[in-house]
Symmetry: D4
Subunit: 218 residues, 8 copies
């Protein structure tokens, strides 16, 4: 099997192809990394990489791999150049932290700084209201929330920034592995909320990068 990594993608759309490790066999990962080692100047992001997959990749790639277990991401051949822009990532509960970590680590890989505001669920609104200034100053707000996902609607009614909502699979029963949070965000009573797939912190970070590419100079 020959792997065809899309090396031209960054040039075309400003974002590199990433490697989703979930569902890949160790053998397939080895073939991919062997191919990637032929281009040592191209930074590559791995997502949903388990510690044991990191071991497998390190066999081929050596020390070059920067793996972070919390977010399950890894960088090969470093990160991309820094970009301007302020992203705030906000979460409803600690169960959403691993997804928020995927957002933050992907942004860092793309060269974008971010601020994480954790644990500000709407059952205690005062926590959110203390942080409104930081939210308003952001170029992009990424809201990570599971279960009823009410945080996205409340934030969307309080600030006018570009707003990306990431549903998470936290919860049980009627949470339906994140489907309820996803649907609730899609039908948010706040206007102009944009939504990603369940637990897709990577996609939210890429979307933020797309928005920052058109950011206003102030």
């Amino acid at each position: 099997v020959t792997i065809r990594y899309d090396y031209r993608r960054t040039e075309r759309i400003g974002l590199p192809e990433a490697v989703l490790c979930q569902g890949k066999t160790d053998e397939h990962l080895r073939i991919i990394v062997a191919e990637l080692m032929t281009h040592p100047n191209v930074p590559v992001l791995f997502t949903r990489m388990t510690p044991s997959q990191a071991e497998v990749v390190r066999d081929v790639a050596g020390a070059a791999l920067n793996h972070d277990p919390e977010s399950a991401t890894a960088y090969l051949h470093g990160q991309m150049p820094d970009r301007e822009g302020a992203v705030v990532v906000i979460t409803a509960g600690t169960s959403d932290l691993t997804v928020a970590a995927e957002v933050v680590r992907t942004l860092q890989f793309l060269g974008i700084d971010s601020l994480l505001i954790a644990d500000v669920g709407v059952a205690g609104l005062w926590r959110l209201q203390e942080r409104l200034g930081e939210l308003s100053a952001a170029d992009v707000v990424v809201t990570v929330a599971g279960m009823d996902a009410a945080l996205a609607s409340v934030v969307g009614g309080l600030v006018g920034n570009p707003l990306i909502a990431v549903p998470t699979s936290a919860g049980y029963g009627a949470a339906q592995q994140g489907q309820t949070a996803l649907n609730a965000m899609l039908v948010s009573c706040a206007q102009g909320v944009l939504v990603t797939n369940i637990d897709n912190g990577f996609g939210a970070a890429c979307a933020a990068a797309r928005i920052l590419s058109r950011r206003r100079v102030t």
Copy 2:
């Protein structure tokens, strides 16, 4: 066909059998009302009654029928005796008003007064915060909301009263005819939110009556 109205139900559980008109043929309605006319002292509630069904019933029952088109409810043989207790009904948007009206009219039939606070969706939180005093004073709060149903979570985080959440079928697409609102209420991040079927204003009012039957004398 012989109808068996459960005349003993009020004595048993404090709530009378009601007649759900939806899905009944005109012929079946006529048979039911003929039976009910034999007990002129028993107040009966009809729900989801269309204006044309009201016509059919009036043919049999005469002026005795008190029909309200907005809530699609009707009273036959008057209402039940007054009960003590304060219920507040709160809605997120005007699309939820017909369901809220079913709550209010059913409560009225059961002899219970209520206050309706409309149009206080969380996309404009200030509207809700102006009414917190009224909410806190209630013996039961009934929250009627569709789409993301975030109102239930926000109210549940602000007040400690018994809280009944009624999802509505407002919205389109991922609102899934109220299923998203239902699920979001069931997984609300606020504690102790209790939920009824979609658009079931009647059930919420009956549940409020059950709770008031155990109400604290102050």
Copy 3:
């Protein structure tokens, strides 16, 4: 990561924030408990805590943790003050006992006594009819049932108390992990049945506490 526990919640709504352990990493649990140890007078409830998570928390909290494996709950810093009121918890089968245990343990944490009546499914109605006196005397009845959940409808037709229905994920196939029990309770032919999320014994207990806060003095 900084945790923001909502210490003001009890003051606001009479119920403390609880810690849902499911889906949390050991590292996140440690951070949460370290924060909670700074407030040794605030009783905290943990739910869905596995024995191995209890170990992790005990590393930080020491002997202060009261963990019960059947209900998967734990108390840190003791329980809340006693409250008046009589709650009856009733289950259809032994498969529902762990959820019923979560109701009972949460009530106990909240300072509320309860009576558990187990194994009275409607396929043997006589078992239920023997206990009607105890059911009628309750301030709140919590019905825990899976599969067809017919128990909620039968109880709702027999007594007029506030009635909370907790669907469970018992069963297989068309039981759909509790979705069928949930839907059957939502469309119960008994009036005024209120429903929680699947397996959500914690929520049912909190809702009971909300109702008891308005309890009639007799």
Copy 4:
């Protein structure tokens, strides 16, 4: 288009092919009836036939058509010979009566007498308990119920006869057009309940006929 009516089916399995009118165009009905008129000694049952479809068929078949609007059934060329056996059809609410009527009319077409016991939902158990003698005496009990369908479970726990459960599409919201009743019957806590498609009174009657074909002589 040539129609191929399975004239040999009665000989093979004791039940004739029936014509489901729903979804058929008037033109297709005309072709079918023209074919059937060539066999004037073969009784045929039509189901889900609207009054306007009955008109169309009468154009071709003349007075031979016996159409009943409540059950939406019609007989062409009379009925089948009488069979021995006692079937009881029992319904939870008046909304289920049209489906129950399809059971009764199909049984009559097949030459089987039946007793209809209507309106004995479990929210008023005394109504059911009054009829236990009649239920126990039946060769087959057909339970027709919508919404939570708890009637099937209660009946199944009280009598040991062959028990066919027909879910109906009565109700709204979480009733999901009968899917909830269907699933609740499939996972009934009573043993040996057998289930048909939603609203399929025809199928229940055919199944009863299959069972009666093996009936005990007493």
Copy 5:
């Protein structure tokens, strides 16, 4: 916790209460068996019992337990008295054999003999046609099939006996854990097919026993 086994059920409906082991903790099983040991003359059936659960029960019950791993069933205190009647169990593929084994073992426990015809899927119709004589002679035919479940429709068109269809969870993808087989059986083009829950061999056997209780003496 006190267990309330429904000892009177056999007297009432001719079928004893059974113990579904799936979802029960070892501790709950021990309590149940201790209770059952107080009635050594009452035969009890356990279903979905894993080998390790059998170990747990044997600790309490001793040699009295007759456990069969293929069907995951066990008998305590022997079987019920023999009943007359011929049941044929027919399966589409080897993947359905464990469910068919649950039918056969439950029938045996209830005192009913049966014949198992395996591996006669409709992709090779000749295998079915060879067995038509045996099928026609049965008092009840139980068809066990997964995936497209076409076997039930073909059998239903060939014989007129009472016909019970048991969908299985065999297959993957669009088989949807047996939901497709369940639905296909419910909408079978053959008349009078009756359906059980997915993989519910126990229920099919109980239903067969209900039908045999009314069996024709020939």
Copy 6:
């Protein structure tokens, strides 16, 4: 609004772009047809065209439109040149005839002859077995069936030709608007059955044309 009809498609893939009328406003249809009238030599197929839409199109196109109400198709500017190959279209019931007609009319538009064998459902297998010779001689067999869709499995076990299965939305309840037929065909126990969208006779005909483009010369 400017319409961009893909005139080059036939040259590219041998199939022309078609116009799905369902969901189009009359105004949009008029714009489309005005554009198409500029290429009077390009035959165009319209599908799911109601009689009133045919009127609208005739206003613009005049007599050039060949509309067939049963299949709801229309030809503008004639048909495509004749192609070699024998297609057999087979249906389970008369409810499936309109979809089968869409297959036949689309094939005719594409220049392909076909034979329609109607009403050979598996509840009467003898009807199918009479036609095996015709089925075996076909280059492509298109099986159109709703409900349990067992016909596709039985045909697939009897003949080895290319086999396209078209599920239809016939039936009610658990037929789920054709979803059950679709899933049953996808998990058919016969090997190598290929499936189209529900009611998609057009797609089946196009697929047959793709297959005929590689047909064996005999």
Copy 7:
């Protein structure tokens, strides 16, 4: 009933509250418009307004109402001030044009110009490739597509702009009223695609306005 229009929203988030007409009674619309007439300087947008609802509103509002039937939108009290920024709206087929029109009209109401590129579905890729220059120059690209929604993925792989994907309810069967398009967009193989509710052109335009509020000055 008193209406509480959120007049402060524009000041807070730069977007005014809009009136979703779907699901509102004529009486409710009249009450809303009467309230809005008290603020003649506040431009208001109505969405999903039928022609007959426009009539109702005109009764109260007079000539002030600018209603557009294709997009089902209306402006009351004019539009908002012009904003800078270039939005391109791109659609796959003519069935998606009404949703695209809602995007364009909402943008116009918000003071934003846009370019509509229609009918460039991926089954004819050349149509899309001709317009790449225009797409790349946009500050925001809004992709409107139903059925398989492949257009969003292809566009997302070709350009790096902020990309909003609007699924539409075009199609039938497995299109599932737009749910398939929604899911396909959420799991797009292109990175950073952001998604709105099905048919939610209004939401896409509001999101574009949020993004433009942070637009780069070039």
Copy 8:
């Protein structure tokens, strides 16, 4: 238990019965293989065979078993005779490779050569466009893709060959274990795409063999 392998199937339809190992117990596998060993000239294909199942089968069959772990397939008693025809298998991502391997190995078993083109997802269209010549030359194209499955639509718009689309269960969240890919392929905007069950590489290969049986001699 007696196994009835359909030895006559190849003669009837040109394809042998295969053994789906998923869901079979080791004991059942042993019985099947013992039966198959009685016909040493009949080549048999096993699918979804785990390495430990291969061990079990080797115990009975010895060296005769050719097992391939990547595709989870095995051949017993060799392969079938060679057939003419060119199949191209094309995949969107490396996550789809195991399903593609099942296609390739099944084709090889059936005596058919194939070419695998991997990793040509539409987010980098240039990769696909480089291979158009090879695609156009194929007698059958099998497209294997998960998530949004856009590859099937793009390929279907570029070439006119018989096109089989195999959805895979790659992805997470809204990918819904391949249901989204399945639905997107079913409603593809390209004409004449035919679809198999999720992950059903075996079925796609069998369908290709059916098509090749009618292949044009050129």
